[in-house]
Symmetry: C2
Subunit: 372 residues, 2 copies
């Protein structure tokens, strides 16, 4: 679907809310937290038509275009007038996760002394993010969300909402996400965080007056992006082609690393540069470690027990070619959700990122499953 | 199989050969190259009973125990008296690849001025390695190898031998390796080499008087090792368990990165430390980029044309769960080898590394296929 013409854009806008002091699960104190969020549509008088959409690791609150910001969003074809999440009917809210770098309080925000938090920012969990978002719901006057929906880390956060506040979640939508981060996902996260910390520009996290760890963050992104795609897609698009005007065999004596690049290397360089231009390395570290820590069953007697009290609707989808968030993990999740939802399959050759590009395949099923 | 008792160890030993000046494919000049190699068994009078075994990326020449070095080798149960490669019958030769760091001339070797080559060491291809090994064959008096066998990068080198000197290869054995490195394999290689170069201890490759880039090499190893295993194996072994006496949620304010580790992180730390203690970072870079450049069809009209002239025997095996060297790539290779060998399957839950741990499953088939 193409983006609707501007005249059809829903009411909405960019907002900020001060939610006060947040004491984190592991003992950190953030004295004055702000949440940036966007909204689409209008909340009804009794606060019963609200939908919460939660972004993935490097996402933000701009899920879709609205009148105040008509630039395309990352789930533009899912949210809008007449879309699966119909903004003529639903009041949609999307916060930037606390710890992030797109408006909400994060490591690059000023602390009380006016300097960026940097290394002083506390470790976060996805449950800390839910607590921040609960306060946002209270502020907005939303008693229960009709649906809490997300993909990848956003799906993990949606599940945490359902387990933590089951009475406030009428429906949960989990795309390409799991009940707990696996050993493999932890392994990939470790390499990424280590690369950022290795960058001499990282300076222990207090790099805001310097160049920063763009190279390390770029390596992290290359690793992550490769896990988000498939070997088959990379082979189909790039194979062993050299980048235009470069020669991978053009090395000369005395210039190690002086060889030209393969096209797939240039592509990953581009992905790295795009991210380092828009994302703070400390936020990347913080959210990656929060996601490594994801286990909806932690301290709750395991995943099944944690979700046993959730009596709302549930929608689960997986990308068939996802090599990071395996479809089998989505099956395992669906099997312990009391609603026993089927797992909807997004058919895509590109892997995990299919939840961002091919969710249209499951939009109708999502709407129907969550009574949207 | 257990290692044979010392009394039964084959004759053999560690050797070095000066092979003179090597001009590399891309124009580099190595004036005085030495190859380290090991042998098992005895060459017959007409040099017709020789088998060449080629190591993987971080392997070495110690394929199996022998009288001069009874420590276990990396294919110990494949090579020895009465084994599939029976050293009572075959004269087995295993060189350390030029560019490596286990005896052969590499970046850590002294150049003419007595200082390590470091950044001055030229870019290498697998064909450069074959040229070095051809001179070793000439020196030994081996006209044609009964078999050239290797796994992973060793298998790629074996294929290069078959394509470059088809008349000198009576049989080729390729385990968990492909005809050309894929876009995905290149992508993983790029992240690894970038991590090494990012390390402030790398110093452009001239780090031999300093601490060196152990942290960067360690990250490279973590990435590589994860690709060598499977998500299922990591989950089975480690799941989300914390490392003993550590708490992944034990972070305190002001200590980012101060959290404890998951068991899988400790495991990967251990893999990294093991490698950095035994492997030179420049050699890792050089061999990784040589492998990224692997394409047996390069300059030969493609893979099929490159192998069309190879009339010898062929043995191909893949690990069913390998997520780096995909079984489908082994099928594609077998389909263009003139001998049209079947692809033997190594059944293992651990992925690529199964070629090192579970090759016993195909040892008999390898022996029969290559008339050993």
């Amino acid at each position: 679907m193409s983006r609707p013409p501007r005249a059809a854009l829903p009411e909405g806008g960019r907002h900020r809310l001060r939610i006060g002091e947040l004491r984190t699960e592991t003992g950190g104190v953030l004295p004055d937290v702000e949440l940036a969020y966007e909204t689409w549509g209008e909340l009804d008088a009794n606060g019963s038509n609200a939908v919460l959409v939660l972004h993935a690791l490097t996402g933000d609150s701009h899920v879709a275009a609205h009148a105040a910001d008509p630039t395309p969003g990352w789930w533009d074809a899912l949210v809008g007038p007449g879309r699966a999440v119909d903004t003529d009917r639903w009041f949609v809210v999307a916060p930037n996760m606390v710890g992030g770098c797109h408006g909400s309080t994060g490591p690059s925000s000023p602390a009380a002394d006016g300097r960026p938090w940097g290394s002083r920012f506390p470790f976060l969990t996805l449950r800390d993010a839910v607590e921040a978002e609960r306060r946002l719901a209270d502020h907005l006057g939303v008693g229960a969300w009709q649906a809490v929906i997300g993909g990848s880390m956003g799906g993990a956060r949606a599940l945490e909402w359902a387990a933590t506040h089951p009475e406030r979640v009428a429906g949960v939508g989990v795309l390409a996400a799991t009940a707990r981060s696996s050993a493999d996902q932890i392994a990939w996260g470790q390499a990424q965080t280590a690369a950022i910390r290795l960058d001499p520009g990282f300076l222990g996290g207090d790099y805001y007056e310097g160049a920063g760890p763009a190279a390390g963050l770029g390596i992290a992104r290359r690793i992550a992006h490769t896990t988000y795609r498939t070997a088959g897609e990379l082979e189909h698009r790039f194979g062993r082609s050299p980048q235009v005007a470069e020669d991978p065999f053009g090395a000369v004596v005395g210039v190690p690393g002086g060889r030209g690049r393969y096209a797939v290397e240039s592509y990953l360089d581009h992905q790295a540069t795009k991210l380092t231009g828009r994302f703070d390395a400390n936020s990347y570290l913080l959210l990656t470690e929060a996601l490594m820590g994801h286990d909806v069953g932690r301290g709750r007697g395991g995943v099944e027990a944690a979700l046993a009290g959730y009596r709302g609707r549930a929608f689960v989808a997986a990308v068939d070619s996802d090599r990071l968030y395996l479809p089998a993990e989505s099956q395992a999740l669906a099997a312990v959700l009391p609603a026993r939802p089927p797992v909807h399959t997004i058919v895509s050759p590109i892997g995990h990122d299919g939840f961002l590009t091919e969710y249209g395949q499951v939009a109708d099923a999502l709407r129907d499953s969550l009574a949207l």
